[in-house]
């Protein structure tokens, strides 16, 4: 079986959206959004399916990583450098495992994209898309950014979408347990409250919190 057969199969499912408008540009834009949306939804559902098929495995590696990280934070708080190094190195090993497992998990949401791009080349490969300064570009040039934007917008809408809302909750339940400790958790209750207060005020007046443990990630 070659790619050609796959594209011929995909053709009727994809091309209709490109023909919804009499205007070629509008039709092409709608078609791209349709392909990107289909790739996103199928990919997200596949990712959920893969996650729940191996949910025990994901829970175990995640717990291993979080537990050893938390232990390393406690070791740092106790100023025990040997224990900190040991726990941190084990936590890093666990992170490595988690990292590769999540790569494979993410691949389950991406596999649709190359087929989508391949189909676009099958259909529009001969069309010249010209971009100023760059010259001639392929359909992938316009599709990949559209896919990223559609996927991003979809991720914003996910908490309100019926099926995806449930998936989100179930993933959360599966990985429930100790939260990953932050380094601010090493502060005394009083200091932490003071730090949080300063942080809140800093939102209004930037520059108030002079020393942060690490720059904010999210």
């Amino acid at each position: 079986m070659t790619g050609q057969i796959v594209y011929e199969f995909l053709d009727p499912w994809m091309i209709w959206a490109f023909r919804t408008s009499g205007n070629a540009y509008v039709g092409f834009a709608l078609g791209l959004i349709w392909v990107a949306l289909a790739a996103t939804v199928i990919g997200e559902l596949c990712m959920a399916g893969v996650y729940f098929t191996n949910k025990k495995h994901f829970r175990t590696i995640n717990r291993d990583m979080v537990d050893h990280h938390n232990l390393s934070v406690k070791a740092l708080g106790a100023k025990n450098k040997t224990a900190w190094k040991a726990c941190n190195s084990i936590a890093n090993d666990a992170f490595g495992k988690n990292f590769f497992a999540r790569i494979a998990l993410f691949a389950s949401s991406l596999w649709v994209v190359p087929f989508g791009i391949g189909w676009l080349f099958y259909r529009f490969g001969q069309v010249d898309f010209t971009v100023p300064f760059l010259g001639s570009v392929g359909p992938a040039f316009v599709f990949i950014p559209v896919y990223i934007l559609v996927r991003y917008l979809f991720s914003l809408a996910k908490p309100w979408l019926p099926v995806f809302k449930t998936i989100r909750q179930k993933v959360k339940d599966n990985e429930a347990g100790d939260e990953m400790l932050e380094f601010t958790d090493l502060l005394s209750e009083e200091d932490r409250k003071e730090y949080m207060r300063k942080k809140e005020r800093a939102k209004v007046k930037p520059g108030l919190v002079k020393s942060k443990p690490v720059p904010e990630g999210s």
Partner: protein, 375 residues
């Protein structure tokens, strides 16, 4: 992170990806076809007479790649490369055009960038999750990113269109042999001792935590990273009152070397970056997650963009799609089967495999024949 910043990040990513999309005319491939004048049915990337890639074979091989990803990790990228070179016969196909031909080099580059799409793209994008969960040491991230950008831009710029399949095979083989040696070292008593010592120290601390609530509190003044001394070669700092030091040049050079190697061989580089940040820079896991994610992302986008946009390297999208499906299935099966195989046995299997693949590719690349079967 603020939502607006996230949106900006997504837009920046979209703009960056714009730059790595494949040019329609793929002039380089057209030039290579014009020079080689191949005849026959259109095959790989539409080349007349090119190999008719069966995506079922791609899919089955990728199940094996996915299995390795979920059990060993690092070897997945190597096996993806073996698939493109040997299993699909692209190596022999490229060689058939002769060392100096354009077709030989364009297929070699296509193999490299296909590997990188397969391993790196998902690595880079999934690392966003870690970025969200973790934290980022911005100066270190920037140092790594500078090295990564330099490495992943320089290598395609210097080598795309210049490396013949034979040379690529030789270097790929050496890297696989090196990886085999590293895996072997991990199984030796010396390699095991370090891990066991860490395990013992961690267990001892865990015990003491259980006995008396040891976690301690720190003075707000000691909180976070406090730089004590910063010169071009020494960075001394306290992290919550505990002293650490590292050489600031190391992340720049390390980022450069890892990105250059990953770009040259067509692998992700994440598997080198994570242990590098832990062992050389001594970073906590909490920070490694976000920092390595940023470096992998920047390196990957840059490398693929350099190959595809600057050097107009084409890829077969259908094959990449089928391989991704295989990787997913392999990674589902992996955790379910690996528990029946002891970790040590698994390592020995991969050592044997690495020595075989490494010897075969190194000798085929540099000597022109393989010293292990099939010759």
């Amino acid at each position: 992170m603020l939502r607006s910043k996230k949106t900006l990040l997504m837009l920046a990513l979209a703009a960056a990806v714009c730059l790595m999309a494949q040019p329609a005319l793929a002039d380089r491939l057209a030039d290579a076809i014009a020079e080689a004048k191949p005849t026959g049915e259109p095959g790989y990337m539409g080349i007349p007479g090119g190999p008719q890639l069966n995506i079922i074979i791609g899919f089955l091989w990728a199940i094996w790649v996915g299995w390795i990803f979920s059990t060993v990790g690092a070897f997945g990228g190597i096996m993806a490369g073996v698939g493109h070179i040997t299993i699909y016969g692209l190596g022999d196909y490229a060689s058939s055009f002769g060392k100096g031909s354009k077709m030989n080099k364009v297929v070699t580059d296509s193999i490299r960038v296909s590997n990188q799409w397969l391993v790196g793209c998902s690595a880079a994008l999934s690392s966003f999750n870690y970025y969200k969960a973790g934290r980022l040491v911005l100066p270190l991230g920037i140092a790594l990113a500078i090295g990564s950008v330099a490495g992943s831009w320089l290598v395609p710029w210097l080598t795309a269109g210049k490396i013949s399949l034979k040379a690529y095979l030789g270097y790929f083989g050496i890297f696989v042999l090196f990886l085999g040696c590293y895996l072997f070292y991990q199984t030796t008593p010396k390699g095991q001792a370090g891990k066991q010592a860490a395990k013992k120290a961690a267990e001892a601390f865990q015990k003491s935590v259980k006995e008396q609530q040891q976690g301690g509190t720190v003075d707000m003044a000691e909180m976070g990273v406090k730089v004590q001394k910063f010169t071009p070669t020494i960075c001394e700092f306290t992290f919550f009152g505990v002293e650490f030091k590292f050489n600031p040049l190391i992340p720049v050079i390390g980022g450069f070397c890892i990105a250059a190697l990953a770009s040259f061989l067509g692998v992700g580089g994440g598997f080198l970056l994570v242990p590098f940040l832990t062992s050389v820079a001594g970073l906590p896991m909490y920070l490694v997650a976000g920092t390595s994610a940023l470096a992998v992302l920047i390196g990957m986008v840059n490398s693929i963009a350099s190959y595809m946009l600057l050097k107009q390297t084409p890829v077969a999208w259908g094959l990449i799609g089928a391989e991704l499906v295989g990787i997913v299935i392999g990674s589902i099966v992996g955790p379910k089967t690996s528990k029946f195989i002891p970790d040590k046995v698994l390592k020995y299997i991969f050592i044997v495999l690495a020595v075989y693949v490494g010897l075969r590719y190194t000798t085929k690349g540099f000597l022109g024949y393989s010293i292990v079967p099939p010759f």
